[in-house]
Each structure stands twice: as structure tokens, then as C-alpha cells.
Symmetry: C2
Subunit: 131 residues, 2 copies
Amino acid sequence: MKKLPKPTESELSILRILWEHGPCGVRVVAGELSRERQKEVGYTTALKLLQLMHAKGLVERDETERSHRYSAKHPPETMQRHVVAEVADRIFGGSTTRLAMQALSSRQASPDELTQLKQLIEELEQKKGKK
Amino acid sequence: MKKLPKPTESELSILRILWEHGPCGVRVVAGELSRERQKEVGYTTALKLLQLMHAKGLVERDETERSHRYSAKHPPETMQRHVVAEVADRIFGGSTTRLAMQALSSRQASPDELTQLKQLIEELEQKKGKK
DNA sequence: TAGTGTCAACGAAACTTTTCGTAGATATGA
DNA sequence: TCATATCTACGAAAAGTTTCGTTGACACTA
């Protein structure tokens, strides 16, 4: 398994944009970033961040056109797993279960979501049983 | 409600130590911090961090003895709620439910924990129903 | 070809966070 | 009392992150 570098705050924002929009040029990223924060983000700022992310292996770059297109290297799920594990370790003593419980308690979920969750738990219990 | 400042990585490490040990002197914090990372953390480094955290209102300080004792100002639950909400916003599009599901999928929970979870979900469904 | 606009690359400034050296106060023990 | 140890406070260096000005390459068009 390869080690994927932990993204900074800004880098995470950019990943979110790329996940949502698919491959983007710098100008689009700068625009979205500006909208997301209250504040205008300069073109070169966004470019620099993308370049750093490319160097770190967080994004891929298509250079066939003069205006390069960037895309996230990893799907959201990979990063989410990573962050969840880290948060669990950092403040839930490594327990993803306690993390899940806190998440569920903190905001009201819809009945539909609760049903989904129950189903997931059923599956997990099945898997446990088989072993 | 008062606004609690977001702790940095180091600050979170220190909070974890204080939550676990209760009120501590600087030397203990420096020691635990050193053990947790692979690397020795100097006494003054730990002191400085604690002083900053005190200024930010993250920790409280008992100055009755010459060697001050620091303790976390907020219980772990408060910080956990905070972090969970932030993580949900930052990479799960605000959905704490999806965060919970990712957490459950990423590591195997014990049967006991699964039972607890089901119970929690039952309660949430009850609450929903009442309204 | 000259003028205009867009682009990537680079480097440095601005800002944040972490680390530690040093100074001065207070206690401890020979 | 004098030497030694422990502590807080302060400030600044070091490291990490974000921001942007400037440059030179390239493309379009008059």
C-alpha cells in the first residue's frame, strides 16, 4: 500500500471541488474556491496549490492542452476512510464505533438514513457471524 | 453558546493527554508528548503550547502551587462534537450519517458495539416518531 | 509583425504553528 | 549564604502553509 499524504485544509477544499466537478482547469478551481470562502482567491494562488498537490501526488494533471486539467488522484472514499481513521485515533482513542455514535447523535438523521444504517449494521453482524 | 477555538494538531494531542490523566504539570505533558510522537519534546516547547492554549481558553490553570497544573477546559464530548461536525462538513458534504457509515465500514466493530449502535438507532427513531 | 490576452512556472512575502534558547524568580540543600 | 535545580515567561528562530507578483512562453488577431 502506498502512503497518501495528508492534505492541508486548502488542499481538501480543492479535492472537494475536483470530486464534484471532475477534471477542471485552474480558473474553475480558483472560482469555486473564491465562492466557497467569502473571499476572492487569486488565479496564481489556486495554480500554486494545484502544483503543490501534483508534486505530492494528490492530483493528476492532463497536459495535452495548453491549459492543463487537474483531477483528484484518489476517489473521495479513499480520503474519507483515511480521515475517519485519523480522527478516530486522534480524539476517539481509536474507536471508530464511538466516532460513529457521536456523529449520529450530533445531528438528526432522516428516517430513511436510519433505515440504511440499520441495514449496514445487519450486514456487519452477518459478516461477523460467518467468521 | 460560546465559540471554542479550533485546536491545532499539537493542541489536540495535549488535550488528549489532559483528558486521560486529569490535571497535569508541564513535565508530565512533555513526557507523554514525547512518548506519543517518536521524538523528544522539550520542556519549554510543551510549556509554550500550554500557555498558548491557556490564552485561547482551551485549558485551565491552577496556579496555587509554584508548578502550575493544567487541565482541559472542555470535556472530550464537546470537542468531539465539534470535530465531527467539521469533518462532516469538510469531506462528507455535511452528512453526519455518511460519516457514521464510513466509520462503521472502515474497521470491524465488536458484536457488543453493534448492539449498542442498534439501540442508539432505535432511540433516534423513537425521537423522530414523537414529533 | 506588433499588440493583447491567457497560461504555467517560479520565488518570495505573509501568515501560522512549532520549537527552543535565555532570563529571571523561587526553592533546596550543603 | 552560595551553588544548584526547577519553574514561568518571553521572544525569536525554524518549519509549514498560503498568497500573490512577476516572468517568459504561446496563441490569437488586427
